[in-house]
Symmetry: C3
Subunit: 672 residues, 3 copies
């Protein structure tokens, strides 16, 4: 269950848009503000890329244009979220300090022409950052219309410059204390990599070839930490100068795995993220997992700071959202925990790299179909706002997401067909298809409220993580772990133990061999537990096969082919009051569907509602009362069978029994 | 209709070969010259890569070998075209001036080992250029055997070095006058790219990421202009010292889109180009569009300065021309406007990067099949030369080719499946298949002689271009424009108008939405105009769908699927005495075939002759009398039905009624 | 026939493992040594990557740990092969001398992080090399347990640094004497590449574009020579200080073509190589050709210095060897000439880049299935060791392998679908499928003992090579050459002769044209010689078609399609007492099968035994008595028909008539 963190968020439901007044003549601003108000907006994000407008020359600050824009918007009832400007340093800065340009993994320094081209550890850039953020904070700290800040924009990209090399060496010094410890943990004795001076430690540049896994993992951690530190540097200024404002940062959903989002989220008041459904093929589960991941970072509601409102694209134009989709996606976001929705962007830019990243309005500024749809949402939200405000998501199933593991698999994917994210999604999708709410949380988090916990490829383990899991299972939890769990210690070395390493006790097995399947290699799987074999008798598996010797566990499924035919592939082990299921391979959709139904029964978790595949069902809870969201992702109508009598908040009509949801349509039901 | 520009071309039909005497012992030269004469040659291109033979050491010039080669060739009746040598600077030059090496788009400076490795804006290289061209011009300005010059060789490749960066900044200064104007036109306010000093403006290096479209387009224009200037620098010397000689440059056909060929062609006496049919899969239409493009640059006859004579290839050997193909391709070239044919190359080089770029003779110098075929052409040409000399191409249909648009789509292809060149060819091929002659001209050119003008994706528009089109349609012309027309202003910003922008009046429509189709996305099309729907009732479209709201125009075809089923896809609008057809999507071959037949009927254009697909028919006109070329691109015989009685120039026989053209065969018919 | 070179190899059969005691705690070493002894091992390779353990600080040497490891292993009966340490320079060395890092072909200098990152021509690295090798040699020269040395590890990778550029220029100076000669041989007149100073000569960096073929070939030769020289520098030290020890280097089989393995092998006592069957898909013929190539380098028995013992892989884990495969591969190696088998590696490393390159033991050090299989081999070898010791391979068929040709085809593959290695393998596989032993030798070697010699694409020819072949055929040999033979002289220029150049006399043909087939281009082939046309009447060919005019030769097969239908594709020419077969194209499997049967009959070569495809049969000879190895590469049982009565050494049972070989099973038969 996600608990609501105390924060500077108020109970207001924010609905608005990202706006770039600096792109358009001032005469247009009042019209834009009026159209926004008519769309039902109450919040606008401004200025995250406006550094050169605010400081056109070094030390010369110009706030008047922004003050004016804020005034015009404020008069139409908008509240303002401001960017801290650091996402796009002006040419005068970068030209004067070419060392501040980021260096890529191939050792090449980037040049001017895009955004976020800076090295985030560069001391000169730090100075400029502190100066501009301080100016902004001082100017807007007491502004009545401003309610909060977004730090920079979509943090990402590792820098491999000499400044970072020195910073990395210092970071390692702090982490390991001595070179002897570092050499021992990383196993630098391999290939004579033993370092005799901190300055000898290289970055894992691609010019260095396939790196030592310990070095590479630590560098990825160091990069992630550098972003946390850079964010904190900005937050410290804002906290001091704008104590009443909230601070957030816009994250990038589930798929992005370059930073440690748990650590980055920690100091923020709440998480925001940028939701572009058409970059996920508008796939319901892929959008859902992103929302749930974002909600799980702080176990709390979040904002969508950029919600797709038109075709996206840089050099190429993406497909256009179909009628009804903008609305559908907004309600999906809300149902998964969004407490603010900010569309990206108001009007499509006529110039710049993002010329084809469309907003609600087209280049010509004329409101057309997409504006009308947004306006409809605005009207609906005005009506139901009070009925959904303060509602919270509630899940009995958790999945454990580890950024350390993501980094480790970036370095060594173990099998070229293996993807941590894809594998994680297989489990998520099986639950999503059954309409079972899921929390996505850190393996270090409190698991006591969950009935079922799934930890796919829990690769890097520590005593801390293992104790957390043991505690959970001992007290009656049902835990699922999979192949490649327990393989690595925290220095990315393989444990000096039979696999699954520190998880052996919990799982009651020993992995005596494994077979990494190339190309289209497959094996067969057969369930031996009656409840499962009645659902699916035989199925196939791929990518990886752990050959398991039960050491107390019971066999759930076994292989049917090759020299390990008959050996265990999936096992179940009683541990304390709970049990651990170990899944040694990757199955197909039918396999996960059956497995999940069995696990839910075992754990006593009830799906929300049985529906056709196109209809997603999610739930929120408010004052002890459930809100059921029925989201039809298909273009055609879909039928659902409601066993109880409900009222639909959107139409304010009663519904029960066989009910039709129109294509791309939404019902928000409360039991009458 | 292409008019003949006044030039230093004489009425002679030139037929010859590119020859590298410096590759072979002097004792062989007389044999080569004799074999050339026996093949019917009267022109030889020499020396475009011979700088290190002419100036083996800085300032030490050696012309004697070249004089001797020219003498030997002259004695066999050859005229000489000389290269200006600058295409391959010698090692002594490049070693002494490493800054003259070109820098690639990824920021890496090239090194010695190929050709044209120089930066074309480098002042040191300019000095060397002036010096060597002056020496050549002085030495050969009055030579009785020399008739003209080829500047450098196959201009291309942009340079991204610091010298070019400064030259680009100066070019921008001249173009925009002030930084304010530049910042406003490019929209540098986007992502804080506002420049405060000209020196801050970067090149669009790949290290800078996806660039500002305005900056990128201007850099491509600057590069194109730099080539024009570099060519002019050489021309000025030659004009002064060799006033009787013609000057040309060898272009690279239709597909090459890195330079502005209209601007590059302008100062030349005539255009030459390098025709390698096997690099175009010997596809009749692809070869034809290349010839027509080259003819259109100056609206005049052209030379083929390099005509394929054997397998081409660098590391790999291409396929060998089939028997009859060399002859077929020569007559195709002539029928499309070639007034000189120079084979590349005489004898296959035994060494160097182009070791496998075969000539008429093999490495061993023995005349074999290909030589015999060339000789046959020579004999024929001798016979028919007078009958084709002075003949001109004549077309009633024009297609508008814009290098600005090609640059723009290089920067932003709008859809990863969209290619300007492929889309352009779809229209051309439909006309070619119907045996309708086409001129390919600039959108700025005079269109008054054409009955039908087709302007695919006329992306970047200006008042000048739009007025030109309006004038044409007002006076009764039929104009076709397509999706993505009128989208951009000259700074590569999207227009601040409903689409198709400045073309809205002409087309009588508004594009209210567009849908960029990913991967294998398709929609259906259905014609609503009876003349068309009887030809093709339903067909499909792909890549891009404009959703059109007619504002006076009539609907020609509409979509059949998705949420915009029933909306207009193709429209027709009366304007003045003429009409504009707007095509909002990409159809299939059947679509274009039907559309083109309808358009030709509408415009009153008659195809030359109906034939099977393999037989291309083209026409030239001489003294008011038509020459009909029938070119059979198939290996097997093809039948044609001739409604009139003709004489075939090649056989001097009468032909009429059902007539057989042998595989790879050619008829050149005049009405008796 | 391969003759046994005199060497420091003793008659002992060595069976052992590569071991890295430095990766594990000393307390574990005695257990490891005991387990090795129990597995039947008698040799261990140590220390090739242990430089930083032996010289942890510049000039501070620490041998005690290695002495101790050797003692412990020696006490269990192991002999020791030592690496010379130079394969992995320590961080302190590379950090202090950044110029010693290798430069890649793209001009980018590599950075620290892997192994063999050094420039092998760097004088500073030479100094360090001499110092560390001298220290090792002095310390272990008289050690009773040490028997030999492995120089460095898996030589490879060309360096393109400025030091190499100067070394290359000097190498060229020595090779050509004068720039005039070099310019003339390379044909630098092409594109004005004429050099006027040695310092102008560039390296063939990729930044220089497609290079002059002569320059590129010489650079590849120079790189290969540099490795020979670097190896010799180490050997000179070892020869002086350790006169009783053998010296070897571990090569990389057939597929590796970056060095001249004939030259590299020459000074060594014997060749070793690293055999990873699963990197060859465990394909019997691909493993066999690798063994035969390695045996042919010195025409002598060899060691497998690294024999796969588990899944291989860096970032990804390869498949695991199936039960029986480790044993099968060991006997295959022995049957092809291996006189030592050393498994890689003892225990899977817990850290470092090769974390997933598995050894006999898993990361946890527990002996499991793979250890048991190795142990079984050890037991068998102990039993049969005396019966196989001193046995030698004997072949009547030779294939000629030229590293010069491999380099040339790396530079110009002639056809993008052509691969020298694949083409070579087509012939080898046809022989392998018929169970005919093959020697793979240099075209310069003595061929007098062979009945059939096959020289695929003998591209670069010299008088020396051609005389060698003429001598062979004159005396009654049967020689096969193929298309693209005789095309180049030693400077990689095309010969100034009709093709096949210097081989024209031998083959009695002239190649009057060739057709390089693109993409999926094919022609048909039809045999005209009755013996062949009864086996295969019609078949197809691809990639390349020489069009042959017989000049005395008889037609064996002709083309059936295209304009050269009916022209000769394969010919046979009597020459002296022998004959030459010329194959002008690439056929399919059926073609080579038929051709090979015909050739074997012609040459009087008898296959060893007819078997199903899965069963490989090889032979060795010992004291005039044949040992027949029957190797079943399939997983299921296979039947063979034995016409004589044999004894199986492994089971010591008599076998005759229909005999079953179990899946992955092996028989070693001697006639009773």
């Amino acid at each position: 269950m996600i608990r609501h963190s105390s924060s500077k968020k108020d109970s207001m439901f924010y609905f608005g848009v990202d706006y770039y007044p600096e792109h358009w003549p001032e005469e247009r601003w009042p019209d834009d503000a009026r159209l926004m108000a008519e769309a039902g907006f109450n919040v606008v994000r401004l200025a995250e890329f406006a550094w050169s407008k605010v400081e056109p020359r070094e030390g010369g600050y110009e706030f008047s244009w922004l003050d004016k824009a804020i005034d015009i918007l404020g008069q139409q009832g908008m509240k303002i979220v401001l960017g801290t400007l650091t996402a796009s340093p002006p040419p005068w800065l970068m030209s004067a300090h070419p060392d501040t340009f980021r260096v890529r993994a191939d050792g090449v320094r980037v040049t001017f022409g895009n955004r976020r081209e800076y090295c985030l550890n560069n001391p000169v850039y730090h100075d400029y950052t502190r100066r501009i953020v301080t100016q902004m904070a001082k100017h807007y700290g007491d502004h009545p219309t401003v309610i909060g800040w977004q730090i920079d924009n979509e943090f990402g990209d590792r820098c491999y410059c000499p400044v970072c090399a020195r910073a990395f060496q210092n970071w390692l010094h702090r982490r390991y204390g001595s070179l002897d410890t570092l050499n021992q943990k990383w196993g630098t004795v391999f290939w004579s990599h033993t370092y005799t001076d901190w300055s000898e430690i290289p970055l894992p540049l691609t010019t260095g070839g396939s790196p030592n896994p310990g070095l590479a993992l630590d560098f990825f951690r160091f990069s992630a930490d550098s972003y946390v530190a850079y964010q904190q540097m900005q937050m410290d200024i804002l906290r001091e100068k704008c104590p009443k404002h909230f601070i957030t940062h816009n994250f990038m959903g589930f798929m992005y795995d370059g930073l440690n989002y748990h650590a980055l989220a920690e100091p923020l008041d709440f998480v925001s993220w940028d939701n572009y459904p058409l970059m996920m093929n508008a796939d319901a589960a892929r959008m859902a997992i992103a929302h749930d991941t974002m909600r799980g970072l702080k176990r709390s509601g979040f904002w969508v700071m950029e919600e797709q409102s038109g075709p996206h694209g840089w050099e190429n134009v993406g497909p256009t959202p179909r009628p009804g989709e903008l609305r559908l996606w907004v309600y999906q976001a809300i149902s998964h925990g969004a407490e603010g929705i900010v569309f990206f962007r108001w009007r499509t830019s006529r110039f710049g790299t993002e010329q084809y990243w469309h907003g609600i309005l087209d280049h010509d500024g004329i409101p057309r179909r997409r504006y009308q749809e947004v306006k409809r949402i605005g009207e609906e939200l005005k009506r139901i706002r009070n009925m959904i405000a303060g509602s919270r998501c509630r899940a009995e199933v958790a999945m454990l997401l580890s950024y350390d593991d993501r980094f480790a698999f970036q370095i060594q994917s173990n099998n070229s067909r293996f993807s941590y994210s894809d594998h994680f999604q297989l489990y998520y999708e099986a639950l999503h298809r059954l309409n079972v709410p899921v929390d996505i949380v850190s393996p270090r988090g409190d698991l006591s409220d969950y009935k079922l916990v799934i930890a796919p490829t829990l690769h890097i383990t520590s005593e801390e993580i293992v104790s957390n899991l043991q505690r959970y299972v001992e007290q009656g939890g049902v835990l699922v772990i999979t192949f490649r769990s327990g393989v690595k210690d925290e220095a990315n070395a393989v444990v000096n133990l039979p696999l699954p390493g520190l998880l052996a006790d919990l799982s009651g097995i020993e992995v005596v061999e494994y077979d990494s399947l190339l190309a289209d290699g497959r094996n067969g799987l057969e369930f031996v537990i009656p409840r499962l074999s009645t659902m699916v008798r035989k199925t196939s598996c791929e990518v990886w096969c752990d050959i398991i010797e039960p050491k107390g566990a019971e066999v759930v499924a076994r292989y049917t082919e090759d020299y390990y035919a008959g050996r265990a592939a999936v096992t179940q082990n009683n541990y304390g009051l709970g049990e651990t299921i170990y899944v040694g391979t990757i199955g197909d959709v039918a396999f996960y569907h059956a497995l999940m139904r069995w696990l839910l029964e075992k754990a006593g978790v009830e799906p929300l509602l049985a529906t056709s595949r196109a209809v997603e069902v999610t739930a929120k809870e408010r004052d002890g009362r459930a809100l059921l969201f029925l989201l039809n992702h298909a273009s055609q109508d879909e039928e659902v069978e409601l066993e109880k009598r409900y009222r639909d908040l959107l139409t304010d009509k009663a519904v029960e029994g066989e009910t039709t949801i129109p294509g791309k349509g939404v019902l928000i039901l409360t039991q009458e």
